[in-house]
């Protein structure tokens, strides 16, 4: 069920692009994947590739290794990003903890996907100049 719902997202991530759900009835865009549109309650849905640009809403620099598997990554920065398409994402901010000093609310960022330790695509955000977007 859940795998089917999010297949388009993960297929897109593997190609390096952001794919969200769009309601097949009213056109409302949503993320994370779910069964119904909360605006018109339609089951109809289609995948929609959207731009990978956004602005930083908030962030945290993680210094504690909550999982031994990421011990080599700390410190790392997680960013909450308002995507231009109107959805949010949580991703890794490129550059580790040292980049945190540069981070600020409203900073323009661009999304890429990089394989994590298990080879799964991980959302990664890097600062972007306006002309890049």
């Amino acid at each position: 069920m859940s795998e089917e719902l999010s297949r388009a997202y993960w297929d897109g991530a593997a190609r390096g692009v952001l794919v969200v759900q769009q309601c097949g009835n009213c056109g409302k865009i949503r993320h994370y994947p779910r069964v119904l549109c909360d605006a018109c309650w339609s089951f109809e849905v289609r995948p929609l590739e959207v731009a990978g640009r956004g602005t930083v809403r908030s962030w945290t620099v993680t210094e504690h290794a909550f999982d031994p598997a990421i011990a080599a990554d700390v410190p790392y920065t997680l960013v909450t990003v308002d995507m231009a398409a109107g959805v949010r994402m949580l991703g890794r901010f490129r550059g580790g903890g040292g980049m945190a000093a540069r981070i600020r609310e409203g900073m323009l960022v661009r999304l890429t996907f990089e394989p994590d330790a298990a080879g799964q695509p991980m959302p990664v955000f890097a600062p972007a100049a306006p002309q890049e977007l």
């Binding site: 999010s6 994370y32 908030s58 620099v61 997680l78």
Partner: protein, 384 residues
């Protein structure tokens, strides 16, 4: 029909709160249950309703077999994490008021310090399916990392400081020491808080609640029947639960700072016919220091953004204007999913608070805060 005055907590029970209990979650849950039932002056066979809190202990059916309950008339599951203790109180009061049952046991027990930690546990829970699928791959493993962006935004918008978080940690520690049954027993200063290692900024070690073992339970009956039982009556005056948008993913919440108690608080206060100024003692869910000051804002104790200054200058101390977490909370007494907050509120309103007793406590509140923002508020008091 309102639940105001319909129900009372007649019995409370706790085990020792520790880090490495040799007992199972089920044993701890039963031990606390038996203590709560005895505290009320009842016997286990008097129980005809059970609402087990959390997912770590025994389900209601186990009470039929272990307690010899012949006629279990009511049971329910409240799937709201740390808001479940307050949710169970609402549910029990409604079931009693409707005549479904007369005496509801609400038990909780956990032994986690010897098992999986929070960063592993939450990913086994169905309500965190989306967090697990979409946020964990980036390295968002533990609740602290998911709450941190909320706290960061509050600091950016309103100028809230780490020292204000620290004040909450220091007061909780003082109160845990007064209580005695607490995991953390060494005094801390604001400097200790500021020097504690960064976990995920802005949260330092001393901003984070504990991983603890123990059991806590309470017994609900009608306020009328409670008068014939052993303890001073502590009535339910108002109760409500509320949920933010996107309850299980903070990332997808349109207002990152929104929490469910903002919706619950006006309903609970209206039911009680009371407001923040009537509250003598507050037991506020404290998975992280930040959420305490945020809940005060959303309950109307201060304006949005003023939670930081509000908690300062000793206001939360036993002898302050709003004594808060008089048992030490999840931050210093133990993480009993807020069940220890409910037990402590009843103890305070009975006048049994010992060294931590708030003088003349007549009306108090307890909040629950579950998963990524489910909120509960119960207002309780001595009958006038």
């Amino acid at each position: 029909m309102s639940l105001k005055g319909a129900a009372a907590i007649a019995g409370i029970g706790e085990t020792a709160y520790t880090r490495r209990s040799p007992r199972t979650a089920e044993e701890l849950q039963f031990e606390a249950s038996l203590a709560a039932i005895a505290d009320a002056g009842l016997t286990p066979s008097d129980i005809d309703g059970v609402i087990p809190v959390g997912i770590t202990g025994a389900p209601a059916e186990e009470y039929v077999t272990n307690f010899g309950i012949r006629d279990l008339r009511f049971s329910a599951l409240i799937p709201h994490g740390g808001a479940s203790g307050v949710g169970a109180l609402q549910c029990a009061a409604a079931a009693i008021a409707a005549g479904i049952c007369t005496t509801v046991l609400v038990p909780f027990g956990r032994n986690i310090s010897s098992g999986a930690r929070a960063g592993v546990r939450i990913h086994q829970m169905p309500q965190f399916r989306l967090v697990t699928e979409f946020e964990r791959p980036a390295g968002a493993i533990a609740p602290a990392q998911l709450y941190a962006p909320m706290a960061r935004q509050h600091m950016q918008r309103y100028g809230t400081t780490s020292e204000q978080f620290g004040e909450i940690a220091v007061v909780c520690r003082e109160h845990a020491i007064l209580n005695g049954n607490a995991v953390m027993t060494k005094p801390i200063t604001l400097a200790d808080h500021q020097n504690s290692r960064m976990i995920t900024d802005p949260f330092r070690l001393l901003d984070c609640s504990l991983e603890s073992d123990g059991g806590a339970a309470y017994v609900v009956t009608s306020a009328e029947r409670a008068r014939d039982l052993r303890q001073p009556v502590v009535e339910l005056l108002g109760v409500a639960l509320g949920h933010p948008d996107s309850p299980n993913s903070i990332t997808q919440r349109p207002d990152l700072g929104e929490i469910g108690i903002a919706r619950a608080a006006p309903i609970a206060f209206a039911m009680a016919g009371a407001g923040p100024a009537d509250i003598d003692v507050a037991e506020v869910y404290d998975c992280f220091t930040y959420v305490v000051l945020r809940q005060f804002e959303d309950m109307g104790f201060c304006a949005k953004g003023e939670g930081g200054p509000f908690v300062m200058n000793g206001r939360l101390r036993i002898d302050g204007a709003l004594p808060t977490n008089t048992h030490g909370g999840l931050l210093s007494q133990g993480h009993l999913l807020g069940m220890n907050h409910i037990v402590e509120l009843v103890r305070q309103l009975r006048g049994h608070g010992g060294p931590a007793q708030v003088d003349g406590a007549q009306v108090g509140l307890v909040t629950g805060y579950g998963d990524m923002g489910d909120g509960g508020l119960a207002i309780m008091g001595r009958p006038r």
